[in-house]
């Protein structure tokens, strides 16, 4: 009973691994973009570039949390997905309301439209996946 249930209850197997793949993808994309923006032209749009870096960090930590599974990993992933969801919604609204605040695109601008709205979808999928794999209360 326990043996068959174990793979279902861990975040780093099956569909979870696909989710981790997409998180790593965004971690690489956001990190390389943020690093180059900060190194080459931080003064042009400090808010946008700092935000890119924060987003990049969150993708990295979320991927680690999902991959490590376990109790601490799940909590880490939960925090990251939540922050990510709030971030993409708030930044999405702000970037539409006040263009001057984000003169250059970030991963989360316009709800991630530059990335096929995947930044908006990803934290939702993450939260659903964490819920689906939630530990059964003893």
């Amino acid at each position: 009973m326990v043996d068959t249930a174990t793979p279902r209850r861990t975040t780093n197997r099956g569909p979870g691994r696909l989710l981790i793949a997409v998180y790593i993808l965004f971690a690489i994309a956001a990190t390389s973009r943020a690093l180059l923006q900060i190194v080459t032209k931080f003064d042009e749009a400090p808010v946008a570039y700092a935000l890119s870096a924060v987003a990049a960090l969150i993708y990295i930590v979320a991927a680690i949390g999902l991959a490590r599974a376990g109790h601490a990993g799940r909590r880490l992933a939960l925090v990251c997905c939540s922050v990510e969801l709030v971030g993409v919604v708030v930044v999405g609204i702000l970037s539409l309301a006040d263009k001057a605040l984000f003169p250059d695109e970030t991963v989360w601008s316009q709800f991630g439209s530059g990335y096929g709205y995947i930044p908006l979808l990803l934290p939702l999928l993450g939260l659903v996946w964490l819920y689906r794999t939630r530990p059964t209360t003893p």
Binding site: G14, L18, I20, A21, L25, I28, A29, L36, G116
Partner: protein, 131 residues
């Protein structure tokens, strides 16, 4: 034979087209595998290897052009996409090997759908200023 002779853009030519086509073929193949509940097979991994070689060649062509004095329209974004691009097939291969289920094939499919998009973005970020 120069790959980029037609447009002057080093990332728009035979190599780019070949990698897009191969990537889409791999995406279809791995989607079929995932739908048939099959783990990633040898052909998916070989395909990812060939794709990586094509992308590395594309990156070398781009870097040679830059060393020769050409400049992409948006250098920051261009290098970001270039770094991401060459990481994609190895990422798919490693995760697919770790996940010997249908979801491994799904990972290959997802990455192979992203790759053509990144190649096209690479071309766009080169041409912003040059036109």
């Amino acid at each position: 034979m120069t790959v980029a002779a037609a447009t002057g853009s080093p990332v728009d030519g035979l190599l780019a087209t070949a990698s897009i086509v191969l990537s889409l073929l791999l995406a279809v193949w791995s989607l079929v595998s995932a739908m048939r509940n099959r783990p990633p097979d040898r052909w998916q991994l070989i395909g990812l290897g060939v794709l990586e070689l094509l992308l590395l060649a594309l990156a070398v062509v781009a870097l040679v052009a830059i060393a020769g004095g050409d400049r992409p329209g948006e250098p920051g974004a261009f290098f970001g996409y270039l770094v991401t691009l060459v990481c994609l097939p190895p990422l798919a291969a490693v995760l697919a090997r770790m996940e010997p289920t249908r979801w491994g094939s799904a990972i290959v499919c997802a990455v192979c759908l992203v790759t053509p998009v990144v190649v096209v973005r690479l071309q766009q970020t080169w041409e912003v200023l040059g036109g």
